[in-house]
């Protein structure tokens, strides 16, 4: 198929006629246009977790033409995932999540590149996995991985699009180096067992879509360099009342990671920090 260079002056990224039609609702918007769509095609985004949050984020980024999507997840699809994890279907039960995720994303959009990492994100591999991506989307399901994503991304000067869910509630924000981090908001994790996980307490499936869509939107805005991002603001969503609250959050000058006298200059043992047992591939297979 012949390719169409919609604006050859700026770079060499070209679109096929199929892509021009596919992205036409983007391209007709003044804030996106061919130039913005080219930024999306040239962008790379790593999504940590192919679960409840990772599914809608990855899906919208793929549909929207983000050129390179990385997914890191070591788990296999379980029947209990299918209430919310839209990347996976009934036929995928038992399959590695990254495999069904890649198949789903490429069936949505064959013009993108999907890079998969079938391993837990841990201190030993975090830098190697994160370093090749522009933006990191946090869809982790535990505090140890959340602090790891925060620290590794900050140390590599990457922007983090953060989101979390529990029951009927969700939170989302954006961390950019120099403007605060997860540790500024929550300096230390709760004691083990005090704040339940979705597996322990449950989550409304649609909430992952709601928060994931906020994360996807913030990712698009970051790539397109448009609008006002969520840096310094925490969105709280209570779906039972359907109230959205915006809290102001500030960089903590005493933050051990991004404060004036940082003490965290390399990755630590996050399982020890959070008091949780280490996650291994064996857990995924057991």
């Amino acid at each position: 198929m012949s390719e169409v260079n919609t604006s050859a002056q700026e770079n060499n990224t070209s679109f096929t006629p199929d892509e021009v039609m596919r992205y036409s609702r983007h391209m007709i918007m003044e804030q996106v246009g061919p130039t913005g769509q080219r930024k999306l095609k040239d962008a790379s985004v790593l999504i940590v977790g192919a679960g409840g949050l990772g599914s809608p984020v990855a899906t919208y980024l793929a549909l929207g033409g983000v050129g390179k999507i990385g997914i890191v997840d070591f788990d296999v699809v379980d029947l209990s995932n299918l209430q919310r994890q839209i990347l996976h279907q009934t036929k995928d039960v038992g399959k590695p999540k990254i495999m069904s995720a890649k198949e789903s994303l490429l069936s949505y959009n064959p013009h993108i590149d999907v890079v998969t990492f079938e391993e837990p994100l841990v201190s030993d591999n975090a830098f190697d996995i994160i370093k090749d991506f522009d933006i990191i989307v946090n869809g982790a399901d535990n505090f140890a991985t959340r602090y790891l994503v925060c620290d590794a991304s900050y140390l590599l000067e990457k922007t983090v699009i953060d989101g979390s869910v529990l029951l009927f509630d969700g939170q989302a924000t954006v961390y950019k180096p120099g403007s605060g981090c997860y540790r500024c908001l929550y300096p230390s994790p709760p004691p083990p067992g005090l704040v339940p996980s979705c597996a322990e307490a449950g989550v409304l499936g649609a909430m992952t879509g709601l928060v994931g869509s906020v994360q996807a939107t913030e990712t698009f805005k970051e790539i397109l360099e448009i609008g006002e991002n969520l840096v310094g603001r925490l969105v709280l969503i209570d779906s039972l009342s359907m109230e959205f609250r915006i809290m102001k959050i500030k960089q903590d000058p005493n933050c051990p990671l991004c404060g004036e006298k940082p003490t965290i200059k390399e990755l630590i043992d996050y399982d020890q920090f959070c008091g949780t047992p280490p996650v291994t591939n064996f857990d995924a297979q057991s």
Partner: protein, 92 residues
């Protein structure tokens, strides 16, 4: 000063299902003291063994975290909104 305390869903099982509680006190510390004396289990969550706020829970007054105000001494006005927000880790 009557303020409205917002209780997020993960905590409402400790407040008899109430997500919005009116309390008449003059500062944040007194509001939390009255709240936790009424709902003892909530007190075990939002204060640690030393009686301090744990670092995984933030208290906001009208959308501003109290450490950027006067902490537990933050003076409240009639109609202020107080929110108790924990870190949550769910993503799967």
């Amino acid at each position: 000063m009557t303020v409205n305390v917002y209780i997020p869903t993960p905590f409402v099982k400790f407040t008899n299902g109430e997500s919005s509680i009116l309390i008449d006190q003059k500062n944040v510390g007194l509001v939390l003291k009255e709240l936790t004396s009424e709902y003892g289990q909530l007190g075990q969550l939002i204060f640690d063994n030393e009686g301090a706020l744990p670092e995984h829970i933030n208290i906001y007054v009208n959308n501003q975290e109290i450490n950027s105000l006067d902490g537990l001494e933050t003076i409240l006005e009639d109609g202020d909104q107080v929110a108790i927000i924990p870190a949550v880790s769910g993503g799967e």
